[in-house]
Symmetry: C2
Subunit: 303 residues, 2 copies
């Protein structure tokens, strides 16, 4: 059974927000999708692409209340958004988000003056691409991907509504506490991303002839890191601020492990390297087996 929303407001109409608006419309989950974004160009683009019934750069310009609000902005904007919607909302409204850290999200929410019409269920749909902007969004982004919910109070009806919404656009729901979410995501997302930025950063600081050659011959492996490093800088800057502790813990583990590889290379310990590489190969196999690997095409796409 599908929950149908009459009016949904998406705050932040970038890649994720615009993909959600497409998916909600295509799957008939929402009658009317409204969009709010601080950048007027983004709103203009969304209206051109026919993604919204109404788009505004200021919440006060809307003349309606919403059944559901989905926050899709960088994490640093959450606190102000919670304040703004708390003073705007005058009828019962479900609120969710798509942020990559959940402890900080809940903390930001708990700081604001309560509005009893707001029912906030934090979400994190694990889906994305390295592109930014509404023109790159697409409705299938969420299909066969997980969405983690980290509810901080027991409200079965609200949790069920939010779950149904994500399911309607193709996602599988998992409930997790926020602290555990933040540790798991530090390892699966925040650390790989930071390392990708850092490896690419190292290359930018090479002598200039080396730098040009690294770019030229990037198909040798480097390009896999640059794909991640093409992601939105503001979004990621905020993640490292908001999930500092878990990120520093996992980064510590990674650095220790990397030192053991370094030592093995220095000492010519081939057996150690071969064993480690075999273990890693197995993990890849498991990810392929559960259908979470995506697919990489080593050829260029036709323009």
């Amino acid at each position: 059974m599908k929950t149908k929303f009459n009016s949904v407001l998406i705050i932040g109409m970038g890649l994720i927000g615009s993909s959600i608006s497409r998916a909600l419309t295509e799957n008939h989950v929402a009658n009317n999708v409204y969009g709010l974004d601080s950048n007027n160009k983004v709103i203009k683009k969304c209206l051109e692409l026919n993604l919204l019934i109404q788009g505004e750069t200021n919440l006060e310009n809307f003349n309606t209340q919403f059944d559901l609000i989905i926050i899709c902005t960088p994490l640093s904007k959450y606190e102000k958004i919670f304040i703004d919607i708390a003073s705007y909302i005058s009828k019962p409204t479900l609120v969710t988000d798509v942020g990559s850290t959940k402890m900080s999200t809940i903390n930001d929410y708990n700081k604001i003056k309560k509005n009893s019409n707001i029912n906030f269920i934090p979400s994190h749909p694990i889906a994305g691409l390295e592109k930014s902007g509404p023109e790159f969004g697409f409705s299938k982004l969420f299909q066969n991907r997980y969405c983690i919910l980290t509810p901080f109070k027991q409200d079965d009806k609200a949790i069920d509504s939010i779950s149904q919404m994500w399911k309607s656009i193709g996602m599988t729901i998992e409930i997790m506490d926020a602290e555990r979410h933040d540790r798991v995501l530090a390892m699966t997302s925040h650390i790989p991303q930071l390392i990708a930025f850092s490896v690419v950063g190292t290359a930018t600081e090479l002598e200039s002839h080396m730098r040009d050659e690294v770019i030229k011959y990037s198909a040798a492996g480097f390009r896999d890191f640059t794909r991640l490093a093409g992601s939105d800088p503001i979004m990621w800057r905020d993640v490292y601020q908001k999930n500092k502790n878990a990120v520093l813990e996992m980064l510590g583990r990674f650095s220790e492990d990397l030192s053991t590889y370094q030592k093995a290379i220095r000492n010519g310990d081939l057996e150690f390297l071969e064993n480690k590489f075999n273990q890693s190969k197995k993990i890849r196999k498991e990810i392929e087996d559960i259908g979470q690997a995506g697919s990489f095409d080593p050829t260029e796409k036709k323009n």
Copy 2:
């Protein structure tokens, strides 16, 4: 003008060797492709796939001489292969290889007793996939990719023949000295690969519930690292032995840089992070602009 070879021997019929055999045949560069592999199953598979006119596990079993020999094995086998072919070859033969390190290749070659019929021009086609085995090879693997030649003596005719061969299967030729090749490839290939193995290794050593969740939610970024980490362990073990110095140098630079990110996260230096992330994003753009980015499909391929 195409150089046509009458008989080509490929030593090592894995992903790369089998892709070369397909490409040489499809592009009419070779009349007869012979294959040598120490693993009888690999040879059987190649014959099933109709990739070879003759396949053997022992060089002595061939009853013919070759115009061209291409070595496509892990680097640790090179020295023995050079010895074997030097005692087998009795007419002028071009020899090349596809190895990821070139100083070690030339050293291995220089160690053996000279056979004046051998003309060795080292190559490194920058193309690959994380899969291993002849069943995963395909003829288009080399199209629009670079092939670096590191000749150690001036023999224009031989260099031209080898260049033509790679060009015939779609590659662009670059000539470089071996030492520079090894430093550039340390950064574009060996370091990203080592870090990918290491990040995936860190995940395997987490508490078991965390490990399962990291696999489950790998679409968040981690899976990009596991793609590289799915590569052949033996091949890579050999690379780190053979390119030890350049790898340790670049690894040192990377570790220093990563520490600066770690410090910025600990101190909440958001400006530093944002600047660095913006620089990395620009490098990605350059790689896309020169058509070396490949294309990633975030959805699963239909089976």
